[in-house]
Symmetry: C2
Subunit: 362 residues, 2 copies
DNA sequence: CCTAGGATTGAGACCGGACTCACATCGATT
DNA sequence: AATCGATGTGAGTCCGGTCTCAATCCTAGG
């Protein structure tokens, strides 16, 4: 395939310099566009570089500039469209500013996240965007900010860390949507999440995820405001795979104390919950109301279309990247921080609670 | 935040060596686990490294080993779950072999892809996985393989390039699904794709994407086998955004020569098509049959659940990464190449064509 | 007790750029 | 015509590792 030998050495500035009959320093200057170079030399160097098909070695360059023009991104699961979108926001913004992205997936595992951060630091990325798997175990993140390299948090907050965080205000939107459900007569409102926790949920329990805590907090506030208490037995964590979600759902739907509304904490959970509801022969929203986080396009295609909480995932990613790059380049914030607000998009999956319905008919 | 000054220099082998009172060479050997080092020295160096919290600079390491343990991935759109899954397959496999992934999104734009490849090469990645935007313009890819760096293609083939390609056999699955539709009485089968082409489709036209060509080829074969001809006017390319997809769909559904079945070339298109069908007040599959590429979880939640062509996107990514790493490490193929086959998953969106239905009732 | 040969060790070259520094060169100023 | 500041230029150092090479240290065999 190669014209010469099996693996030709890359062309370096030295080669170009020799071809252009100038010193290495001059060639480097002409190529790197810095320092003073006469037109004559510049032309000869550029020509020689073209001729030899010279390409600078970014590794070498990074090594003595100390900048790699690369940012590291650590997310829990790119497969999840929520992060897919956010990642897209990050890469688009990064590219526009001339940065590349190294992406590492952690599967939401703490140890994988620790490793990921270490690897990226070792690779001397200019900065990091992390969607922390845990809001509590943040030692590895503290190390990052201690090392002096910029860090920005995405989607979730982390305790005791003085870094910019780009996430929507979950407590507020959760409060609003719970209030909406309560107004529709729901009292038995279930909440299903993948988040891992030891044992079943109890009110006031400390959770790994600030996001989920905030959501539960919002629900609790809505209930309290209505002079009610949110039943803790309807909060179901540790919903692993699709099978587990379905089992949990059918459990929630059984018995005299069955849930009348279910909130799915993300798109993946939603799929399992809706399927389980369908399999149980129940209809949405007549028998059960349904509400989910993230407004994916397909939620408009189901019958009925689903009522969702839309989150500005793309904007979140874009804002995080912009802020990180700002930090890297040592600039002050110019534009005000974009508001990252979630919206309740009412479509057809939330209806009047059954019991209330019955009462009003009596 | 730092204890000393604002931005402390990183700890280097030299620092560790000094602390352990040995030469730089010995420290490097102990740290790098190569060469001969006495137990005494090793212990002292390890202790000093721990004490100073030494982390090797991967950039420097890469520079003189020539290996970066990083692979570059170039895809059209991570936001698309098809690539999201494939990317997941790549990163999982890469991680298992100790490689990192640099991801670049091209928005399916040729020029962006050329840039992306160049950037990755400049960063001295050990190898590249590319989902080429065009199967025709492949000069930049040829450069990669000429440079001696391993390259593997994902999802789509490219002309005149002697590189491993991991993609499903589109022609076969397309043939099978078209045959299925024909057997159900469909003659007016439409095909909607985002792929850009100049002007409307004509039979035998050269397309940028081998994937789409193969699919159309499969459809053509199925029609020919049945002694029929696939109407070229039902092949609609250049379906840009959601609005454009809807417009095209409603156009296909109008008039006496309306399509009785529509094949959506990917998940994004599918959303627009189904929405347009619903908005037109038509029902699936009574009025129109619908078939789409990619078996996303939500396709089971619509009413009716959608008949789809499932593709092993994750496996495709995983296989591509495995092959690339094999090339990088200069090993021969051990396991046979995994078969990447697509399957027709019959659910509820394909029914008997209307005209035939009428006939059989008469 | 002496020595051959393997185990250790340190000095320094090197990877491929960026950048410092000392030394021209040259037109402009007075 | 002598001086001065603004370019141009090349030699060489540095970044932080890896790796070669020659020197030194040991220990077992003679």
């Amino acid at each position: 395939m190669n014209t010469d030998g099996s693996r030709r050495r890359d062309v370096t500035v030295a080669d170009v310099a020799k071809a252009a009959k100038v010193s290495k320093a001059q060639a480097a200057r002409a190529l790197g566009n810095y320092g003073a170079v006469s037109d004559d030399v510049r032309e000869r160097v550029i020509a020689a570089a073209e001729e030899l098909d010279y390409r600078p070695n970014e590794l070498a360059r990074s090594m003595n500039t100390g900048r790699s023009n690369t940012i590291g991104v650590v997310v829990g699961d790119i497969e999840n469209p929520h992060f897919g979108l956010a990642t897209r926001g990050i890469t688009d913004t990064a590219k526009a500013s001339g940065y590349n992205v190294i992406l590492i997936n952690t599967d939401e595992e703490q140890s994988a996240e620790v490793d990921a951060v270490r690897v990226l630091l070792d690779k001397r990325v200019d900065g990091l965007i992390v969607a922390p798997a845990s809001s509590v175990e943040t030692a590895h993140l503290k190390q990052v900010s201690d090392s002096g390299r910029p860090l920005v948090l995405l989607d979730r907050a982390a305790e005791g860390l003085d870094v910019e965080t780009f996430a929507v205000d979950m407590s507020t939107i959760s409060y609003e949507s719970a209030k909406y459900l309560i107004e529709e007569g729901h009292r038995r409102i279930a909440f299903v999440s993948t988040i891992r926790a030891e044992g079943p949920y109890e009110a006031g329990m400390t959770l790994d995820s600030s996001q989920i805590s905030d959501r539960l907090d919002g629900i609790r506030r809505a209930f309290e405001e209505a002079g009610l208490t949110h039943p803790a037995d309807l909060v179901r964590l540790n919903a692993g795979g699709s099978a587990s979600v379905k089992e949990i759902t059918s459990e929630l739907l059984r018995g005299p104390e069955a849930a009348t509304a279910i909130i799915a904490s993300d798109g993946l959970i939603a799929l399992g919950v809706v399927e389980a509801i369908q399999e149980a022969g129940l209809s949405i929203p007549k028998d059960v109301s349904f509400l989910m986080y993230d407004d994916f396009a397909w939620t408009r295609l189901t019958t009925p279309p689903l009522t969702v909480i839309s989150q500005p995932a793309y904007d979140m990613g874009a804002a995080a990247a912009a802020a990180l790059i700002r930090h890297i380049e040592g600039r002050k914030a110019s534009a005000p921080r974009p508001e990252l607000v979630a919206h309740l998009v009412k479509r057809g999956s939330v209806g009047v609670a059954r019991s209330v319905d019955v009462m009003s008919q009596s």
